[in-house]
């Protein structure tokens, strides 16, 4: 188990290092950053001055190491646009996205897993059809449209929740539903398929032959084995959500990290983009690691791998 843990941690660290290299080099993919910063009317001297000011005249490895050591201490430099530390911008925006993402995945799991389990116990029943309907709709409906419908019904017509903003928990209800519902179909179908397969397994027959309680068979013996692929998928989807949903954050005027990323790209605000990419990626790496550990806990056979 310790070896498994160390291997996974080592791999995660390697991935993180690679990602940092890629997000650093993004700055130079879009051409000479000094030219972009200087603006259209800039003279060659202006550009040279900017190059010196931002340190673009140093060799690339030096710049990378400087950037990385800064990043490790939370110093991503200043935003070109706001001229304030990048880290301040991010710590201001990221909690909103985190809150929304976590709420979204919880909503998705709470809706999708029970529905998937019931659909698997009673295939082709009314509930199974209903679950299929929900997942088809969820898959097919554009997020922005669904958001607007929810706003029209629950915020405007019924007035149960605020239309937009991020001041109280009630502001998060509609965005959570939208974001969570988007993740529901995949999780539900995977739960259903996994449960259907596991329920046919010989060891379920053994559990029944032992005379165990049906609920114990379902939750102890079946769900644990069916959950393994679901954990992986949920981790990926949570990663998506924590990367921020531009659409949802825009529509509900949630000042989250997704919106910040979108705006920073439009403003050529490279330090912010770099920092966000690195942070989003690290979150992803961490979630994958977490999913691996969770699966190793669920299935002892994974621990030796």
């Amino acid at each position: 188990m310790l070896r498994f843990l160390l291997t996974r941690l080592g791999l995660a660290a390697l991935v993180a290092l690679t990602v940092s290299l890629i997000s650093f080099s993004l700055l130079f993919l879009a051409g000479d950053p000094a030219v972009a910063l200087a603006g259209e009317a800039a003279t060659e001297e202006d550009i040279q001055a900017i190059r010196a000011q931002y340190g673009f005249d140093r060799p690339l490895p030096v710049q990378y190491v400087a950037w990385l050591t800064g990043a490790l201490t939370g110093d991503f430099g200043n935003s070109y646009y706001f001229n304030t530390p990048v880290i301040d911008l991010i710590t201001e925006r990221l909690p909103t996205t985190m809150r929304l993402g976590l709420a979204g995945i919880c909503f998705a799991l709470l809706l999708a897993v029970p529905l998937g389990v019931i659909a698997a116990i009673r295939p082709n029943s009314l509930i199974d059809r209903f679950a299929l309907f929900i997942s088809v709709v969820g898959q097919a409906m554009p997020t922005f449209w669904f958001s607007l419908i929810l706003i029209v019904i629950f915020a405007v017509a019924l007035g149960w929740v605020p239309v937009s903003g991020s001041d109280t928990w009630r502001h998060f209800i509609l965005p959570t539903v939208v974001l969570g519902y988007f993740a529901t179909p995949g999780i539900m179908r995977l739960t259903r398929a996994g449960m259907l397969e596991v329920l046919r397994a010989d060891y379920i027959r053994t559990a029944r032959a032992k005379g165990l309680h049906p609920l114990k068979i379902l939750f102890k013996h079946a769900l644990r084995n069916a959950a393994i692929p679901v954990v992986g998928l949920a981790a990926v989807q949570l990663g998506f959500m924590l990367g921020g949903s531009i659409v949802v954050e825009t529509i509900f005027a949630l000042n989250g990290a997704g919106l910040l990323a979108f705006e920073s790209i439009n403003r050529n605000d490279f330090p912010v983009v770099q920092a966000l990419i690195l942070i989003f990626s690290l979150i992803y790496v961490m979630l994958t690691l977490l999913a691996d550990l969770l699966n190793a806990w669920l299935d002892p056979r994974i621990r030796v791998a």
Partner: protein
Amino acid sequence: MNSLLSVRNLRVEIPVGAGLLKPVRGISLDLNKGETLCIVGESGCGKSLTSLALMGLLPKVARCSGDRLSFGGQDLLGLTERQMARLRGRAISMVFQEPMTSLNPAYTIGDQLIEGMIRHDGVSRAKARDRAIFLLEKVGITAAASRLSQFPHQLSGGLRQRVMIAMSLMCGPDLIIADEPTTALDVTIQAKILRMMKDLQAELGMAMVFITHDLGVVARIADRIAVMYAGIFVETGTARQIFDTPTHPYTKGLLSCLPVPGKTKLGARLGAVPGVVPALIGGVQGCGFASRCPLRQAACDIEPELSERGDGHSCRCVHDTPTLRKAEWATA
């Protein structure tokens, strides 16, 4: 007669696209305490479904009916699923064919051994653990206490089947149904496991329904034998009767496939029963074995009844006993 298990005319039917599949077409049996009945037959004859029907573990689509299915004086056909679950694992338990897949990979074998006993007998974990260790040692597993924390994937097939057998014994059942428990194991392990099951049975005094297609296995453990073909018993009797004076052409055919030490000459060809089991959709007309039988005649178009051919020895065939005894399978 006061038998432990008494079955009359048990049927299993499964609706399929093309009609009604009738894999078990009315079997009857009586089993006394401590006795071993072997149900022998080839693949697809309905023997596994018979065992699942006895356990109440048939797939949902299958329908089970019968004139009687009583166990220890209790009518099983009338029980609800909940009542049946109370019997399963406690009074009747089962050992399955596939030791590699019959244990849940996510739990330790200790956990899987004790959970049934905790449920049925309401004992503490510690007490159930003691019982598990005791039984693991009984089935010949060394270092039993340390095995409890192992996972199924850390054990070999033979060990896993021993664990399954120990598991079936946890609550001290009156009846064990073993569905080809040694088929997936290699021959040396097979012999060990069979001997062990026989010893345990003598020691613990439970009855056993042993399902197999392997006559070599039958010879080792059976008190009584039922030869199953196309969903019904074609011959039943004591192990001696079946092996010494086989009567039904199918039984004789099966036995001719076996080499007999000291009798079968070196280089001689073993027998084979030609043909295949008839399709069981919509039932079988006449004698199910007629299409493969060397003694076939017009009367075989009507299904014969199981008739007495000696003390407790019955055979389902239109021919009289002397004709059947005389008849030989032409070895190809």
